[in-house]
């Protein structure tokens, strides 16, 4: 029908605005499909890998080798496997050698072939990349030469952390798999056990049962670690949940913003067409026919942009998986796209936008032909807010700008929420980057004695010269097993760990001090009492917090050593670890490990570059979204004020004065929108990282850097100024004749 031609003409006349809405919907669909595709594909990859290769439910060490494992397996209903572990220094890094398991944590060869002959080694691909190694190369370890025959992924090292309390992999660290026979060359290698529950129902209770069983048989357990709190395993799950959780709300927020602005635009078209609609009714057009005509724009726009967004997101999922799996180590077997998400990617914007447009359209189309032909719809109505505002005391320019803004509440909301969302995104990107930097910089910064030597058994007597004794238990908050941390006993005159409060004053060490990160996570302040449970023996303790250590590193509660020993039932003077400035000369057979905290603060290059790339991407998307939103609102404002602009020109307003009145009216809204973005960003960031904290025991406080806030502010206002300049050209084109020829107010 002839009316159809109009649809194209309307779109062509306002192409800038429709392109803006197209991009917004496109971004929403693109993000939704990419996030759900990545979430689903990663989920499937992880599930396939962990199920097929029997990812451990628990890992633990014992004070003596386990005897009769077959009997233990029968009693506990678990598969129990033994593997060897040995850390060995390599140039610019460290390699953790592991022996292959056959029952639990079965290795997956991702390239090359498996271990066939003595001297073969499989390496993780990240280690190969960082150290420039490839299949066919040779690697010298402890004087022995190994042939690199392939790359490997281990279910218990999906995220290759050296220590589970680290938040990111140390630079140059990796894993390698050599045969049990080759392990003979490394006699100091530790023996570690892993268990996998055959019956997958209520795994947690079965794990607790295994713990009891082993304790009852006289084994002393150390480093008992559940898969769900083991960051090597849980980190990837947290990220998948994050992608899934953030996918739908972000896309929905974008769609809702589009609904708001498209609704305003449809309302404008329908209102200005009131007389035409009335005339068409009078000529015999049916309501349905008119609904179809006016719905064509939102349906067409949302369908095309939703489809384009969905189609373009599909090829992006593969590379994103590639980037993510470059931080994680697991076999990439294929991508998975949930059909429901794909349908939603196209249908969701269509349904939401069409519905919002229909609601607006229905209000006008309900009126009779005679009513519509009177042209009342075209007349500008004064809304409640405009009527209530008492502006007499303000200057004319202020009054004019305020009225220009509140003239359309949905338009105002769109601008405010849009700028807030763009600012929030921008600030979130910068703040996450900054928080990582701060965490990275503070890692180990409180350690005056950076070397921590940990024994397999509790030690008694005096500590070696130049070393300080410490004792520790891995614990969790009573009622929340996922909130894990260490309670550490230190001598009151310890100099190994620096403890300062928020004012920079030294904290006494003869009291209970909690690190800021843990206090922040658990919501504790000085004077509070914390109830904790030991992960080793399940005993509960209460501690009153006397001080908060201002550090972003580690989740620790420090207390005087003797008080610690008394509380945990250890003999006076006993200790499990030593703090020292230099490496101590102790038989490594007695040790479970040596950590150098000053070498922890080098983040893996892949993680750094992924993070930087994410920040750049977020900055581009946020700026683009901000520009589109401001452009849409400004161009709409110019369109709605055409006759006023024309009138102002007739009255002798200079070009700059008109531009100031019309274009600058959004400045306070953009200003408020930006500052609203800050608490919004903190809320979203804290929720996101609070959730991750729950999942993987990681704490990431949102540390706002005023410089980044300033950069974001400047960026948002630069976008605003550029958009204003672009719209200013449109303003200049409005002629005085428009109002001279106009027929009504």
């Amino acid at each position: 029908m002839a009316l159809r031609k109009r649809v194209w003409r309307i779109i062509k006349e306002n192409k800038g605005r429709y392109i803006g809405i197209f991009i917004l919907i496109f971004l929403g669909s693109f993000y939704f499909i990419a996030a759900s595709g990545v979430g689903s594909s990663m989920g499937k990859l992880v599930t396939d890998f962990t199920e097929k290769n029997k990812q451990e439910d628990i890992t633990f060490k014992t004070n003596k080798p386990l005897e009769n494992i077959a009997a233990l397996e029968r009693e506990s209903g678990a598969l129990i496997d033994t593997y060897r572990l040995h850390d060995i220094k390599v140039p610019n890094g460290e390699l953790r050698l592991l022996s292959p398991s056959t029952k639990v944590n079965i290795p997956a060869v991702t390239s090359g072939h498996g271990l066939k002959k003595p001297g073969d080694i499989l390496l993780d691909p990240i280690f190969c990349k960082v150290h420039g190694l490839k299949i066919g190369d040779q690697l010298k370890l402890n004087g022995r030469t190994f042939d690199i025959v392939g790359t490997v992924a281990m279910p218990n090292y999906v995220y290759i952390l050296k220590n589970v309390y680290e938040q990111y992999p140390p630079k140059g660290f990796g894993i390698g798999l050599i045969s049990n026979a080759d392990f003979k060359a490394f006699p100091k290698a530790a023996t570690v056990y892993s268990a996998y529950m055959k019956d997958r129902e209520n795994v947690k209770a079965k794990a607790a049962n295994l713990n009891r069983l082993l304790s009852n048989k006289g084994y002393s357990l150390s480093e008992w670690l559940n898969a769900e709190t083991n960051a090597r395993i849980a980190m990837v799950r947290g990220n998948i949940e994050g992608a899934k959780t953030m996918g739908a709300p972000v896309a929905a927020a974008v769609y809702l913003l589009c609904c708001l602005i498209l609704g305003v635009m449809i309302q404008r078209i329908v209102k200005s067409d009131g007389v035409v609609i009335g005339t068409l009714y009078a000529q015999g057009y049916r309501r349905g026919e008119l609904v179809r005509h006016y719905m064509a724009i939102p349906v067409l726009l949302s369908a095309v942009s939703g489809l384009v967004g969905t189609l373009l997101a599909l090829p992006v999922v593969g590379p994103v998986i590639g980037i993510l799996t470059s931080s994680y180590n697991m076999p990439v077997t294929g991508l998975s796209f949930p059909p429901l998400s794909m349908v939603l990617g196209v249908l969701m914007p269509m349904v939401l936008l069409s519905l919002s447009s229909y609601v607006i359209l229905r209000r006008v189309l309900k009126k009779s032909a005679a009513e519509l032909m009177k042209g009342d719809e075209q007349k500008t109505k004064v809304n409640f807010l405009e009527r209530k505002l008492q502006l007499e005391r303000f200057k004319f320019a202020t009054k004019f700008k305020l009225r220009e803004q509140i003239r359309s509440i949905p338009r105002l909301l769109f601008l405010l929420l849009g700028v807030s969302a763009a600012s929030m995104l921008l600030l979130l990107g910068f703040t996450v980057h900054n928080s990582f930097q701060v965490l990275m910089d503070s890692t180990g910064s409180d350690r005056y004695f950076p070397i921590e030597t940990t024994f397999k058994e509790i030690q008694h007597g005096a500590a070696p010269k130049g070393a300080e004794p410490l004792n520790a238990i891995r614990s969790y908050l009573k009622g929340n097993e996922k909130a894990e941390f260490y309670v550490v006993g230190l001598e009151p005159n310890s100099i190994g760990i620096t403890m300062r409060d928020s004012n920079g004053n030294n904290l006494p060490k003869n009291q209970v001090n909690i690190t800021y990160l843990l206090a922040y996570r658990l919501g504790l302040k000085v004077g509070d009492t914390i109830n904790i449970v030991s992960k080793v023996d399940g005993k509960s303790y209460s501690l009153k917090i006397d001080g908060i250590v201002q550090t972003y590193f580690g989740q620790y509660i420090y207390m005087p050593l003797e008080e610690f020993n008394r509380m945990t039932g250890n003999a006076p003077g006993s200790y499990l670890g030593l703090l020292s400035k230099n490496k101590l000369d102790i038989d490594e057979n007695l040790l479970t490990g040596i950590n150098d905290f000053h070498n922890l603060n080098e983040m893996d290059d892949t993680t750094t570059s992924t993070l930087t790339a994410s920040v750049v991407l977020i900055t581009i998307v946020a700026s683009l979204a901000g520009a589109i939103i401001i452009f849409l609102v400004t161009s709409m404002m110019i369109e709605e004020s055409r006759s006023t602009i024309s009138l102002l020109k007739i009255f002798g307003y200079r070009g700059k004065e008109v531009a100031k009145l019309i274009l600058n009216s959004s400045t306070p809204v953009v200003f408020i929108g930006f500052w609203l973005g800050l608490p919004l960003m903190l809320a979203v960031g804290n929720t996101l990282y609070g959730y991750l904290g729950e999942q993987i025991n990681m704490v990431m406080p949102m540390i706002v850097n005023p410089w980044y806030v300033l950069i974001s502010f400047v960026l948002i206002f630069a976008v605003y100024e550029v958009t204003k300049w672009l719209c200013g050209r449109k303003l200049a084109k409005i002629s005085m004749s428009e109002v001279l020829k106009a027929g009504t107010e």
Partner: protein
């Protein structure tokens, strides 16, 4: 002469060349009311737009109070409109989301020596409605606001394009008598275009236009009071 138009021509090219003004000559003294009468398409509005500095002529001159308008560039025209001319439109052209007082401030905001908004509002009888929005006023009241807006800058020349074209007789009389009052009270020169010849009686000078030319000029020695105009 306060207003002097000589040999003014203007044509539009919309595929076909239309000669709208074909050498118009017109003169008015300071403080007079002038009325341009003529049917649609006779060139009244084009003439008024050129005098008001919102349109340009092809040839000929327009002088207002000794200032040659036709020689001014765009920037100078802006200053001319800003300081010297007031406009009253047939359909009022009020800004719908500004109150009555604010509509007047639109102009006083950029004037060098504006009259007080309240004084002007009292003069047009709308002081008690200064916080209303245009939609809440009758047509006559809206036109009064439009007049108040035009005179707040105390212009040398007030140009009125069919000021009663959208109003009934009684309301029109009120508006016309207000214009008469502005003319006497502030000494403002008023040029009005209309196709209603009944209005001619209240003008000092009457110009009848036909087909782009001034067909007749008449000077009224006795003016009719606006309240007594009939049609």
């Amino acid at each position: 002469m306060f207003l002097s138009v000589s040999n003014l021509t203007k044509s539009y090219n919309t595929g076909i060349i239309t000669h709208v003004l074909k050498g118009v000559n017109l003169e008015m003294k300071r403080g007079q009311i002038g009325v341009i009468l003529g049917p649609s398409g006779s060139g009244k509005s084009t003439l008024m737009n050129i005098i008001g500095g919102v349109d340009s002529a092809d040839s000929g001159t327009v002088e207002v109070d000794g200032e040659r308008i036709t020689g001014l560039n765009d920037k100078q025209l802006v200053e001319y409109r800003r300081e010297s001319v007031g406009f009253v439109f047939q359909f009022y052209n009020l800004v719908p989301n500004l109150t009555v007082a604010e509509n007047i401030e639109v102009v006083s905001n950029i004037s060098r020596n504006p009259l007080q908004t309240d004084e002007v509002l009292s003069a047009v009888g709308l002081f008690n409605k200064k916080n209303r929005f245009p939609r809440e006023l009758s047509g006559g009241e809206q036109q009064r606001v439009s007049i108040a807006r035009a005179i707040v800058k105390n212009p040398k020349l007030l140009l009125c394009d069919e000021p009663t074209g959208a109003l009934d007789l009684e309301t029109s009389r009120g508006v016309l008598s207000l214009l008469q009052k502005v003319n006497t009270q502030f000494g403002t020169t008023i040029l009005m275009i209309t196709h209603n010849s009944a209005i001619a009686g209240m003008a000092h000078a009457v110009f009848r236009m036909r087909d782009g030319e001034i067909a007749e000029v008449r000077q009224n020695s006795e003016l009719i009071q606006a309240e007594r105009i009939e049609w």
